[in-house]
């Protein structure tokens, strides 16, 4: 297949169990290069585990993960690290290093890769912080001095500072008020567009999914049950997706109160 038609990330038959619990039960998904994919699903449906499998943080039990047509399981450690070097990640709670000032958090990857001196990193951090709407002076603060919204912005700055070509967003608007959520979504859109990156977001915030997604996929009980355009969410014709998008209690998805 030519590069133009090949998905940036391709998952086939991805399976992962934790003890008796089958979290991923054969995930098949194509993520188009330069597009923004939103993966929807309830709590415990396997969204985060899917992302962690792609990042190599969790080893899948079976299945194929391809990035740019390369099977990640067949790469050497160095090749795998090279793939990860091109991926940025915004964690749900920011996951900022509280022992380091904000500027060092933002340029952590560049410093780790020796691509920049510490002096230059301060200037670079100020530049990236401005891109996410924060004053350069924020760079000298500790993460514990920031509000939740500011921590998300710093997390976003850290994810984009090394100019990755794939960016993962784990619940980017969770815990934020609706206005701040919209602001973060706007920043995500701007950053992804500016970098020309492929974005994968996992969320259960439907407003956010429609704003930041080109494509959407719904995961339920460890399987992808629907894929399509994010703009169609709420009116997909798929009973599960529509129930989830409208937040209806009655429907094919029944919440398990006890596992």
């Amino acid at each position: 297949m030519s590069d133009a038609g090949r998905p940036k990330i391709r998952l086939r038959g991805l399976r992962k169990a934790f003890g008796p619990k089958q979290v991923l039960d054969g995930v098949d998904l194509d993520i188009r290069a330069g597009h923004s994919m939103v993966i929807l699903g309830g709590s415990g449906s396997g969204k985060s585990v899917t992302l962690k499998c792609i990042l190599g943080l969790i080893e899948p039990d079976a299945g194929l993960i391809e990035v740019d047509g390369r099977d990640l399981s067949k790469l050497s450690r160095a090749e795998r690290e090279a793939v990860n070097d091109r991926i940025g990640m915004l964690f749900q709670n920011g996951a900022l290093f509280d022992s380091l000032p904000v500027w060092e958090n933002v340029c952590f990857k560049l410093l780790a890769q020796n691509r920049i001196t510490r002096r230059a990193a301060r200037d670079k951090a100020a530049e990236v912080l401005e891109q996410v709407g924060l004053a350069p002076s924020v760079g000298d603060l500790s993460p514990s001095e920031l509000s939740g919204g500011m921590q998300k912005r710093v997390g976003l700055a850290r994810a984009i500072a090394a100019e990755p070509d794939i960016i993962f967003f784990d619940e980017p608007t969770t815990g934020l008020d609706p206005i701040m959520g919209a602001v973060i979504d706007g920043l995500i859109l701007d950053c992804v567009k500016r970098l020309g990156a492929t974005a994968v977001s996992i969320t259960h915030d439907m407003a956010s999914a429609r704003r930041i997604g080109d494509d959407a996929a719904m995961i339920h009980k460890g399987r992808i049950v629907w894929t399509g355009a994010a703009a169609r969410l709420g009116d997909t014709g798929n009973a599960m997706v529509d129930q989830f998008a409208r937040g209806e209690r009655e429907g094919p998805i029944q919440m398990e109160l006890r596992r």
């Binding site: 990042l55 943080l57 990860n84 991926i87 709670n93 996951a95």
Partner: protein, 261 residues
């Protein structure tokens, strides 16, 4: 029949659990040590851990050593007076401090301070996804979090024990000269006459091992913690308890190896 075998199965499960845990810790330690020989090296993190272990533990180790030396002098004087052997007080103090009490008590104090601090810090990083974040930022978490701490612990502890040895002996000297009637010169001469280089060296070897054990336990329990705040609390307690027990156990083994004839 099953019921009869239940206790046996329980013992088997515990034994397998202990073996599995020991193996996992050994692999963890090996991986951390191997990172010492592969760049990049995080000198800044090593220095930070070194200051945390060596410099900031100094007051508590110093106080422990001084009081231990003072108590040793008092107790040994009381005991030896019954055999008219009061002159041996200086020898007992210096041998006890350098061979045993200096490294063991400093190790236990550092276990309380550093084992707990490392487990809490790394455990919090684990439950707040900071360790996963390191992996996504082109940084090996083991190399970044564990290796510099292990190296710092192994180097800083012997230096702490040198200070503890000196202050412990000075504590004995203080009591000996101010309360027990020894002359300063005679006490110090008795101390130096009976002290051999190996007494000090053996204590420093123990200290290096204890430093490794304490930092390893702090890092291991922090790195493998889970279950939110409660999990971090459990990791912290486990790190201190395991460090303390391992210090006493390895002290016996090292003493048996170094001083058995």
């Amino acid at each position: 029949m099953d019921r009869i075998l239940d206790p046996v199965a329980a013992i088997g499960r515990v034994a397998i659990g202990i073996l599995r845990g020991t193996g996992a810790v050994a692999l963890f330690a090996t991986a951390a040590v191997l990172h010492l020989f592969r760049p990049p090296f995080h000198a800044r993190l090593f220095l930070r851990a070194f200051a945390e272990i060596g410099w900031f533990s100094l007051p508590v180790v110093a106080l422990t050593a001084v009081f231990t030396g003072m108590v040793l002098a008092l107790q040994s004087y009381t005991g030896f007076a019954r055999f008219n052997a009061e002159g041996a007080v200086a020898n007992v103090v210096v041998l006890s401090i350098t061979r045993e009490l200096g490294p063991v008590l400093a190790g236990l104090m550092v276990a309380g301070r550093i084992g707990a601090a490392f487990a809490a810090e790394i455990g919090t990083m684990r439950v707040t996804d900071q360790i996963d974040a390191l992996s996504t930022l082109s940084t090996n978490p083991m190399k970044y979090l564990v290796t510099p701490r292990l190296l710092a612990g192994t180097i800083a502890m012997p230096l702490l024990v040198v200070v503890a040895d000196i202050l412990g002996v000075m504590g004995g000297w203080l009591i000996g000269t101010q309360q027990l009637g020894f002359s300063s010169g005679a006490y110090l001469k008795a101390t130096m006459d009976f002290l051999q280089v190996w007494d000090v060296i053996s204590g420093l070897i123990k200290a290096a091992v204890f430093g490794f054990v304490v930092t390893l336990m702090g890092c291991w329990f922090g790195y493998t913690s889970g279950g939110g705040a409660q999990g971090v609390g459990r990791a912290t307690t486990s790190a201190v308890v395991a460090s303390s027990i391992l210090i006493l156990a390895t002290d016996y083994v090292l003493t048996a190896v170094m001083f058995s004839r």
